[in-house]
């Protein structure tokens, strides 16, 4: 994981800095919008001096890495004129709240609907749910978000269009972000549950006379959850990506909308830091998924 993380740092940094025209020129152009032509060579030099842009790229990279790891200094934002770390800490809670609530909706909804569909295999409810999952995984998240705004904010006036701070504001973005994962989790739960229900020990439990509820909760669920956890890991990653778009739709003040705004503003250090944070969260999620795996299946041991 350490090597991967380092490589991600390096890849992000060089991707961001190998810009046609040079970093300093680009930043300068942005700082003097409309005055690009009048920016003199001296201003350029002065600017490069402030942001240490005269050093060779690899030195800049090492400085950035050292600052980031040992001093928590990820550079200054060109636009906000604040340390990048402060911006991130300000924005991070919003993204985490959004991602966790979406995940909760997706897991609770997906697992319970998946079990329900498995129990009703090939009945109307099952067909209907499967047809809906097809839509769930195929609809663009931002479109779902806009349609939700249209229905619940514009027509029914039940919740505000956008904003941050109260539960009312959270409902629509969390739901829009969860749809895709909910459908994927439901689908895999159904498949995995059907497979588990066909096992001998379930047949044995049935012939012992256990109720359906007991069979599901005591025997089937834990065994059926392994593939679900795998999908959960993927979905968490997809959700981090999706949050970038959903946050923009709902003007949600998280890392995702910060990233998009910073890309437009060419706020280099902020973009770098946002990507690193998202990848870091993604790697943590994968690590947690591995831990849950060991809990669910004690046969798995990582060396």
């Amino acid at each position: 994981m350490a090597i991967t993380l380092f490589a991600v740092f390096a890849l992000t940094f060089f991707l961001m800095n190998v810009v046609p025209g040079g970093t300093s020129e680009m930043i300068l152009k942005h700082t003097f919008i409309g005055l690009e032509e009048s920016a003199t060579q001296e201003q350029l030099a002065q600017f490069s001096e402030i942001y240490n842009l005269n050093d060779p790229l690899y030195i800049q990279f090492i400085d950035w890495l050292k600052g980031g790891i040992f001093e928590g200094d990820l550079g200054m934002s060109f636009v906000y004129h604040k340390p990048v770390l402060d911006l991130l800490l300000l924005r991070l809670p919003a993204t985490i709240i959004l991602a966790l609530s979406s995940m909760a909706i997706a897991v609770v909804g997906g697992v319970s609907l998946g079990i329900y569909a498995a129990l009703k295999e090939n009945k109307t409810a099952d067909h209907l749910l499967r047809f809906l999952t097809l839509f769930g995984v195929s609809m663009p998240g931002f479109w779902v978000g806009l349609i939700l705004i249209l229905i619940f904010s514009v027509y029914l006036k039940m919740v505000p269009v956008a904003g941050y701070g109260s539960l009312e504001n959270l409902i629509l973005p969390a739901f829009a972000l969860s749809i895709h994962s909910l459908a994927s989790i439901m689908r895999i739960t159904r498949t995995s549950m059907l497979e588990t229900l066909g096992q001998d020990y379930i047949k044995f439990a049935t012939s012992k006379g256990l109720s359906v509820n007991k069979i599901i909760s005591r025997h089937a669920l834990k065994n059926a959850m392994l593939p679900v956890v795998t999908v959960l890991g993927f979905q968490m990653g997809a959700m981090l990506g999706g949050s970038v778009i959903i946050e923009t739709v709902f003007a949600w003040p998280g890392i995702g909308s910060l990233l998009v705004n910073s890309i437009f503003a060419r706020d280099l250090y902020v973009v770098q830091a946002c990507i690193i944070v998202i990848v870091f969260l993604f790697l943590i999620v994968n690590f947690i998924v591995d831990l849950v795996y060991i809990y669910l299946d004690p046969r798995i041991r990582y060396g």
Binding site: V8, R130, M139, W143, L150, I278, F282
Partner: protein, 277 residues
């Protein structure tokens, strides 16, 4: 195999619809019936009518016309992305699996790194600094997608290269390139292509998402995500320019999902999701 495909109702319908879309996508720019960018401010934000079946947008442009033009954009970009990422993925996966050792270690590590970025964020970052445009969009999305195919291809090659016919080929002195081209790739590429078919849906969603955010194509190329993004400002009074492009995206993604998953069921009967209709 064709029999198996057309015995399934959902796949038959999807393939017919896809064929229709491809015909639209190819013939639209050739026929050039009317300009999808033609502005008509006297007829802006109209609801669907006989003259404009899906209404008009905020500049009075016909929505149906622009959706049809968007088919060409989306399908050709998705085709480009699939072609490039499949080519790179199959090649790298094959080399990695076949040679093993330090080559495999290195390539696998690179694949892991590419897979550790959430796709859309990575594409966003690349687009942000390459700038918009068709070629840049295809490149950015290819960079994101190839690693998945490479990993799958590597796994396939690892199992296939243990077969006796590969060993026999080696013994009679066949070169590495020959073995890859004649034995390894033909025997494993089907699985990768099936993944790529399912994946086209994701590619289409990514194209729409990037354009929705405004980091994609120049404004004069009609694209569904961009139409949605422009339309959302007028959602209160004229919701059609938001609703219809989203429906178009959903429909095309569903078509590719059904075809891809159907193909997977046919090739791998163990992993069956069943029919949708």
């Amino acid at each position: 195999m064709t029999g198996k495909i057309f015995r399934r109702k959902d796949m038959t319908i999807s393939i017919l619809l896809l064929a229709l879309l491809v015909v639209v996508a190819i013939s639209y720019p050739l026929l050039a019936l009317s300009d999808p960018n033609a502005i008509d401010l006297t007829n802006k934000n109209l609801a669907p009518s006989a003259e404009h079946p899906l209404g008009t947008d905020y500049l009075g442009r016909d929505i149906l016309n622009r959706l049809a033009a968007g088919t060409t954009t989306s399908l050709s970009i998705a085709a480009g992305v699939s072609a490039i990422s499949l080519f790179v993925g199959v090649l790298i996966g094959c080399i990695s699996g076949y040679y093993g050792g330090i080559i495999d270690e290195t390539l696998s590590r690179i694949i892991d790194i590419f897979l550790s970025f959430p796709g859309i964020v990575f594409a966003l970052a690349i687009m942000g600094f390459l700038g918009g445009g068709v070629i840049n969009l295809i490149l950015a999305l290819s960079v994101v997608h190839w690693a998945k195919y490479a990993r799958l291809m590597r796994g396939q090659v690892l199992s296939i290269k243990e077969n006796e016919y590969v060993l026999s080929a080696k013994i009679i002195g066949a070169g590495d390139f020959h073995i890859m081209r004649k034995h390894l790739i033909p025997n494993s590429v089907a699985t990768v292509i099936i993944l790529a078919t399912i994946d086209i849906g994701h590619v289409l969603l990514s194209i729409a998402a990037l354009n929705f955010l405004g980091i994609g194509l120049p404004a004069d190329i009609p694209e569904w995500g961009a139409m949605l993004s422009a339309g959302k400002e007028f959602m209160r009074t004229s919701p059609y320019q938001t609703i219809f492009p989203g429906m178009a995206i959903t429909m095309v993604v569903i078509i590719f999902s059904i075809i891809g998953e159907g193909l997977r069921d046919i090739f791998d009967p163990n992993d069956t999701g069943g029919e949708y209709l």
